[in-house]
Amino acid sequence: MCLAVPMQVMTIEEGTAICEVDGVKREASLMMVEDVAVGDFVLIHAGFAIEKLDEEEALETLRLFRQLLDKGMIPE
């Protein structure tokens, strides 16, 4: 039930955003998040944006994964 879907903000009007993922569009309230702009990625749960993506942290986590590979931890 706590599933939330990362979606991209397409438009914002009066505290409500239209968000999109894989061609699916959905209205979401921005009541719970601050400083959200068009183009941002947000987590959508039950019609509300509950958090904004921190892109730097996302890239940092991916960098750490790749570092494991670079250490020769797998044969490829």
């Binding site: 039930m1 706590c2 990362p6 894989d22 009541m31 601050e34 509950i50 993506l53 986590t61 797998i74």
Partner: protein
């Protein structure tokens, strides 16, 4: 899908699996890691993660499915409200098939009750706006991810001056049952994969008392396969080193203090209360009730109905399964009397229940 597909890369998954194998190589015995989130349960089954992990790691599911932990008495209350003339029940889909003591909302719907499935509490609000002659009761079930959205709908109902929108709440809060299970002498949990989106609201720091007082390592973990594998890697490193710290694997969405704005909305409308968990029993301070200032939106206060005496179904091991003590296959009803088409226990009803996941993906 940006920042989703990247976290499913099989080459990177192999790298993480190698690192996990290396970490536990010299570990004596088996470590038990518990996830307490239905979405983790599904992700672990869906991606076949158990089969990929070394023998030394046992992954179990805890009480992380809100529908599954909702006591039968609540379902009976919702059924009694559904039978009330002029009432529309609005609910997330999973709740309609949960068996009550003698019926279910789906059965009541077949008998003529007005039960609507909605995606958002805001959709229930629209329903109330479009049906001013009737009373809409939204079933508020869920943890801290969902509770602020329901609180938000109550604030919005007040703003729009809607007097026919009510909520029947069975909301529960997360870190408390984890502490209760950590003190259960029959259950040895070596580490917690902490729920991702609950933590987006409550923050990673909410687990500090669990790590400090109960000495259980906690890692806030995302839902993509690479997230789960990294969460397992972080927990196994702590377990091997004999540490108990809170770490945050899901930093791209979870901050140490979570989302204060969502919590402020939750706290404006709800206050903590004691709550009954199916299978676990009463846990002090683990539920949310509607504050007196918002009592006009509380279905339990506003509508008086006769609720039947709750009867749990005999033979169903949901309670033990929710504590991670028993696996679905050990339940005599699993796949025989209890199936997704004709469920006996809530764990088989909810799409993210452990039994439903085992039925769909287990072998």
């Amino acid at each position: 899908m940006k920042y989703s597909a990247e976290f499913r890369d099989p080459v990177l998954a192999r790298g993480l699996l190698e690192a996990i194998a290396e970490t536990v190589a010299g570990y004596r015995g088996r470590m038990t890691l518990m996830e307490v989130c239905g979405t983790h349960t599904m992700a672990i089954y869906q991606h076949g993660i158990r089969a990929l992990l070394p023998e030394a790691i046992r992954l179990i599911s805890g009480p992380g499915c809100p529908v599954c932990v909702t006591p039968v008495g609540y379902v009976d209350h919702a059924i009694a409200l559904a039978r009330r003339p002029g009432t529309i029940i609005a609910t997330f889909g999973d709740m309609v098939r949960v068996p009550g003591s003698s019926s279910s909302l789906l059965r009541e719907k077949a008998l003529g009750a007005d039960v609507r499935i909605v995606y958002s509490p805001l959709d229930a609000l629209t329903l109330a706006e479009n049906n001013r002659q009737q009373t809409v009761v939204f079933l508020g079930v869920g943890f801290e991810t969902t509770a602020p959205t329901v609180a938000g709908s109550i604030l919005e109902a007040r703003r729009r001056k809607l007097d026919n929108y009510l909520v029947l709440t069975a909301h529960k809060t997360m870190p408390t049952p984890m502490a209760a299970l950590a003190s259960d002498p029959e259950l040895q949990v070596d580490g917690y994969l902490c729920p991702a989106h609950v933590s987006a609201v409550i923050g990673a720091d909410a687990y500090l008392p669990l790590a400090e007082k109960h000495r259980v390592p906690c890692v806030v973990t995302g839902f993509e396969p690479l997230d789960v594998l990294q969460g397992v890697l972080m927990l196994s490193r702590q377990t091997v080193a004999g540490e108990a710290r809170v770490e945050n694997q899901y930093r791209r969405y979870v901050k140490p203090d979570g989302n204060p704005r969502a919590r402020a909305i939750l706290e404006e409308v709800f206050s903590p209360c004691d709550a009954r968990w199916r299978g676990i029993g009463e846990i002090a301070g683990s539920g949310l009730e509607i504050r007196e200032a918002f009592a006009s939106f509380d279905a339990a206060c506003q509508l008086s109905v006769t609720i039947e005496e709750p009867v749990e179904h005999g033979g169903c091991l949901c309670g033990e399964i929710l504590k991670g003590k028993v696996t679905p296959k050990e339940c005599p009803l699993f796949r025989t009397l209890c199936t997704p088409e004709d469920p006996v226990g809530a764990c088989m009803v909810s799409s993210e229940g452990t039994c439903a996941a085992e039925y769909k993906y287990g072998c």
